[in-house]
């Protein structure tokens, strides 16, 4: 029996060809790990191409999982374990593996033909290039073939099951039960594939048990999470469920107009199955039609919603301006990806902040909010809907590819405790004017067509305040521009909270940098550095205390996955110089990178 070593946390990465099923075993390992009770965070990383040529670097798909017995906020900077299904996967990922880490390779694939595809000149299993790591060679394909003997399957089909062999092996290594995956395979596959996958999974597990390849096996005890019912959730799923919750809490149908685009399409897929929950979906002919149909739905009394990514946002700009002008509720969810143009469709970025704030013709203010974690996507989606229907304005919710596809455990909310979002349609024809505003909020009434006596016309041409009649008068236009801006400025949003130490250095973030910042701040504080963390979830309007909070620190460090967009906005709004920490590599910040910036900021200060 191998000794069992207890670890606080582990980062494991599965890497292989796009067709090798790495995302499948990654999510299986995740579900099993969640049910074991660890805290966790995941990071799937896959190419934009569906099936790049097999064995090439372009085709490498990866899935990283960080699981722990304590609270964690990120999928981990560097894996301790790498499972590489072919030479390309090894080459693309080995640099990230911690020194001394474990690398498990599918040894049969390490042959000349595969080296050529991966542009490798010598066999890394033999040339000493892996000396810094612990190498475990497993003939996965051969062992899988032996396991499925007797089943009527072709070589290719057998080969497809080897990912489950690798999964079984890792389950043994980290003492994970097989049951969750067994159940999943049984529900998902027909015979003989069901049997083949089950045998491969069990063979991998048994092989690890029998062969003395691993010096140790490990356990990661359950995390001490707050009591409650948990499920694992990805950001896109949380957005979907947030929209369903919005339908229940407003009592109105949610109408999603969408055009498929990476990395937002999964929201469309998920919501298309929720018609029974009063959420309907319309796959439009293009991005413009998607937003137009959503605005049409809002005009008719539904909650119009769009899901898209950067290029789609660019196409929707004119229509969003129309929703600004006609003061109709609209929620636009931008799952940001690398840009400009097509950019990096499957990689993450936060470079659409300026676009969200200002990317329309004319003075066209909209509310902008941003989710910070996969779980937070649920709450911020509800917030976006709340603001849209109570303010009669478009709201842009920014998420990104990192949180959209990343996952973490979610302590499920008490459904009844989620506050209702009150919506009132105007039905009283007495003194009705389409643009007569609530004096406190400046919000105009929402009227559903079909309401007798309230017939009226709206449109994109400038309108007279109160009556809504077409109007080109100079002073009216100025008045209307100001009133549309003021209406957004009056939206009530919660104060900005500071975590950690006051007064000295504040790390200010927005969006999916939350996890990396929080981890770095925790680590710095454990080393005695005085540092605080604040995270902006409301970008327009910003919390009322934002300037006060920022000025209460001597320095403000702003990590962003762009070239410093929030820093520019803060300078413009508050005449405040922040230290920008930009990163624009299609990858999330590592904790280490933010930690180093905290230390160097402190040293610069000390040197003064």
């Amino acid at each position: 029996m191998k000794p069992v070593q207890s670890l606080e946390s582990v980062v494991i990465r599965f890497a292989g060809d796009s067709g090798d099923g790495m995302q499948v075993i990654g999510s299986q390992f995740t579900n099993t790990t969640a049910l074991v009770g660890n805290d966790l965070a995941t990071f799937p990383d896959f190419p934009a191409e569906i099936r790049a040529p097999a064995g090439t670097l372009a085709g490498v798909s990866g899935f990283q999982l960080h699981f722990s017995s304590s609270d964690i906020f990120t999928p981990g900077d560097a894996p301790e374990v790498l499972v590489a299904m072919n030479p390309a996967a090894l080459k693309a990922n080995i640099r990230d593996l911690k020194k001394g880490g474990l690398v498990v390779v599918n040894a049969e694939k390490f042959i000349q033909r595969e080296f050529e595809k991966a542009a490798i000149t010598s066999n890394p299993l033999e040339d000493g290039s892996l000396d810094e790591w612990r190498l475990v060679k497993v003939d996965m394909a051969r062992l899988t073939r032996e396991a499925v003997v007797g089943l009527e399957l072709g070589t290719k089909e057998i080969d497809r099951t080897k990912n489950f062999f690798a999964l079984g092996l890792c389950y043994w290594l980290y003492q994970r039960p097989l049951e969750t995956t067994v159940r999943w395979i049984e529900a998902k596959f027909k015979q003989p594939y069901k049997e083949a996958n089950l045998r491969a999974l069990r063979a991998g597990h048994a092989y690890a048990e029998t062969i003395e390849l691993f010096e140790n096996r490990y356990e990661v005890p359950p995390a001490r999470l707050a009591p409650g019912t948990y499920r694992n959730i990805m950001g896109n799923q949380a957005v979907s469920l947030g929209l369903v919750a919005a339908a229940y809490k407003t009592g109105l149908p949610v109408f999603l107009g969408s055009y498929p685009i990476t990395p937002a399409s999964d929201i469309l897929h998920q919501l298309s199955a929720y018609k029974a929950h009063n959420v309907v979906t319309f796959q439009a002919e293009d991005e413009i039609a998607a937003v137009a149909a959503a605005i049409g739905a809002s005009f008719s009394g539904s909650i119009g919603v769009c899901t898209t990514s950067g290029p789609g946002m660019a196409l929707k700009a004119e229509a969003i301006g129309l929703a600004v002008m006609t003061e109709l509720p609209l929620v636009i969810i931008n799952v940001q990806r690398g840009g400009p143009s097509t950019g990096l469709p499957t990689k993450t970025e936060q470079s659409d902040l300026m676009q969200a704030m200002y990317g329309r013709n004319g003075e066209a203010p909209v509310a902008v909010v941003a989710a910070s974690t996969p779980v937070d996507c649920f709450e911020m989606t509800l917030e976006a809907v709340r603001i849209a229907v109570t303010t009669m304005c478009p709201v842009i919710l920014l998420t990104d590819g990192y949180m959209a596809n990343g996952s973490e455990p979610w302590r499920l909310p008490d459904v009844d405790a989620i506050p209702a979002i009150p919506v009132k349609f105007r039905t009283d024809p007495v003194d009705f004017q389409p643009y007569r505003r609530d004096p406190a909020t400046l919000v105009r009434p929402w009227v559903r067509p079909g309401t007798p006596g309230l017939e009226h016309r709206i449109g994109g041409i400038e309108k007279q305040d109160v009556t809504g009649a077409v109007n080109y008068e100079p002073l009216n236009h100025e008045h209307m521009c100001k009133i549309r801006a003021e209406k957004i400025a009056r939206i009530q949003v919660p104060d900005l909270e500071v975590y950690g130490d006051p007064g000295d250095l504040l790390v200010l973030g927005w969006g999916s940098t939350f996890g990396a910042i929080r981890s770095a701040v925790d680590q710095a504080r454990s080393q005695g550095v005085r540092v605080g963390h604040a995270h902006l979830k409301y970008l327009n309007p910003m919390p009322a205390n934002t300037a006060e909070v920022l000025r209460s620190f001597r320095r403000v460090l702003v990590p962003e996955m762009n070239l410093g967009q929030l820093v520019r906005i803060l300078r413009a709004e508050f005449l405040l110089e922040c230290i920008s920490l930009p990163k624009i590599q299609g990858q999330a910040f590592k904790v280490r990178e933010i930690l180093e910036a905290i230390y160097s900021t402190q040293q610069n200060e000390a040197a003064k």
Binding site: A276, I288, A292, G301, L412, P449, L454
Partner: protein
């Protein structure tokens, strides 16, 4: 939710009192140029709206951008003047959400066939139950006189001083290619025929595509004169009646099929109306011939060229919702959130 999403999408509620044309006239000052053909179209539409037995509050006028797209401002009903070319997409969102509303789109040749060609195509393909009034004046009016996608080749305009190079669309052939289930044609000055076509468009369940030849007396005056002037219209227009032979020019000429091709024949000398093609609105092959018939080779077909029955998008859309709700009568937010793989921490 039943109030918001009626299960019976075919049912537009009946008006509780008789309406008149005046009920549909808004208080807005009409800003079309004096003499514009749009006035006549607006007037016919208002007359027809009052006759349809639908309460005023259930009419929704949708438009894009262009002269014709000011239409909603002048109709006292619900109206939405949207953005250039996208009216069909707005209308789709509205009709899918609220099938009990009577949704009309006012558009022009530039709005619906140039910038909005894509949306027009997809609305027709889906068969969204809306009425499209396409004001075709073969010119861009609101931007002051550039050629449009229906302008004749060689047309000299502000942007084509040496003549347009573009080959024009035939709007009804385009619509038919987009799987339209109702195509019809009329002319701004043919008031009675126009009203008949509008009524037929309303009665049709599905996307009704009505091309209306409209005169822009400022930038393209007389564009249709050679077809529609009193002196020539009998010779150059073919007024279609379902089930009737295609004869024109006071009964002296007809359309006959030679092989697969229509030809114009002089009646008499043994040829009678019985030898002519008989109009069958439901025949898609005949529709293809009619949609391509153009002056001077042929008289231009007027009236309903084609209508056929096909389920509407909005009806199917709401049937799926009803089906999903019936299959999950206990659907709840709690069941959805807590329904997957969960675990408890004590």
């Amino acid at each position: 939710m039943s109030e918001l999403q009626p299960s019976d999408s075919e049912k537009v509620p009946a008006a509780t009192r008789a309406l008149t044309k005046k009920d549909f006239m808004s208080d807005q000052i009409i800003r079309w140029c004096p003499g514009c053909g749009d006035y006549a179209i607006l007037s016919q539409a208002q007359t027809v709206f009052a006759e349809l037995g639908i309460p005023r509050e259930n009419f929704v006028m949708i438009s894009g951008i262009g002269c014709s797209s000011r239409f909603p401002y002048y109709v006292n009903a619900y109206g939405f003047h949207t953005i250039h070319g996208r009216a069909p997409a707005f209308a789709t969102g509205i009709k899918a959400s609220r099938p009990e509303l009577s949704v009309w789109i006012a558009t022009g040749d530039g709005d619906s066939l140039s910038i909005g060609g894509n949306h027009t195509a997809h609305m027709l393909r889906r068969n969204v139950d809306v009425q499209v009034l396409l004001f075709n004046n073969r010119i861009y009016g609101l931007t002051k006189g550039q050629y449009s996608p229906t302008s004749e080749p060689g047309k000299k305009t502000k942007s084509t001083p040496m003549g347009s190079l573009d080959h024009p669309f035939m709007p009804l052939a385009f619509a038919l290619g987009c799987e339209a289930t109702f195509i019809a044609r009329s002319v701004d000055i043919f008031t009675k025929e126009q009203r008949e076509v509008m009524r037929a468009a309303h009665d049709h369940k599905g996307a009704s595509f009505v091309e209306i030849y409209q005169n822009c007396n400022i930038f393209n005056d007389g564009a249709w004169d050679s077809l529609v002037d009193k002196q020539v219209r009998g010779e150059r227009c073919l007024f279609l009646e379902n089930g009737k032979p295609m004869v024109f020019a006071g009964g002296t000429k007809g359309i006959k099929l030679e092989g697969l091709r229509p030809t114009v024949v002089e009646l008499g000398n043994g040829l009678t109306a019985d030898d002519c093609l008989v109009h069958d609105e439901a025949d898609p092959y005949l529709a293809a011939l009619l949609a391509r018939m153009d002056y001077p080779e042929f008289p231009v077909p007027m009236g309903v060229l084609h209508r056929r029955s096909r389920p509407t998008y909005d009806a199917l859309f709401n049937e799926q919702i009803a089906e999903a709700k019936a299959a999950a009568p206990t659907a709840s937010l709690k069941q959805l959130l807590y329904g997957g793989e969960t675990w408890k921490v004590e």
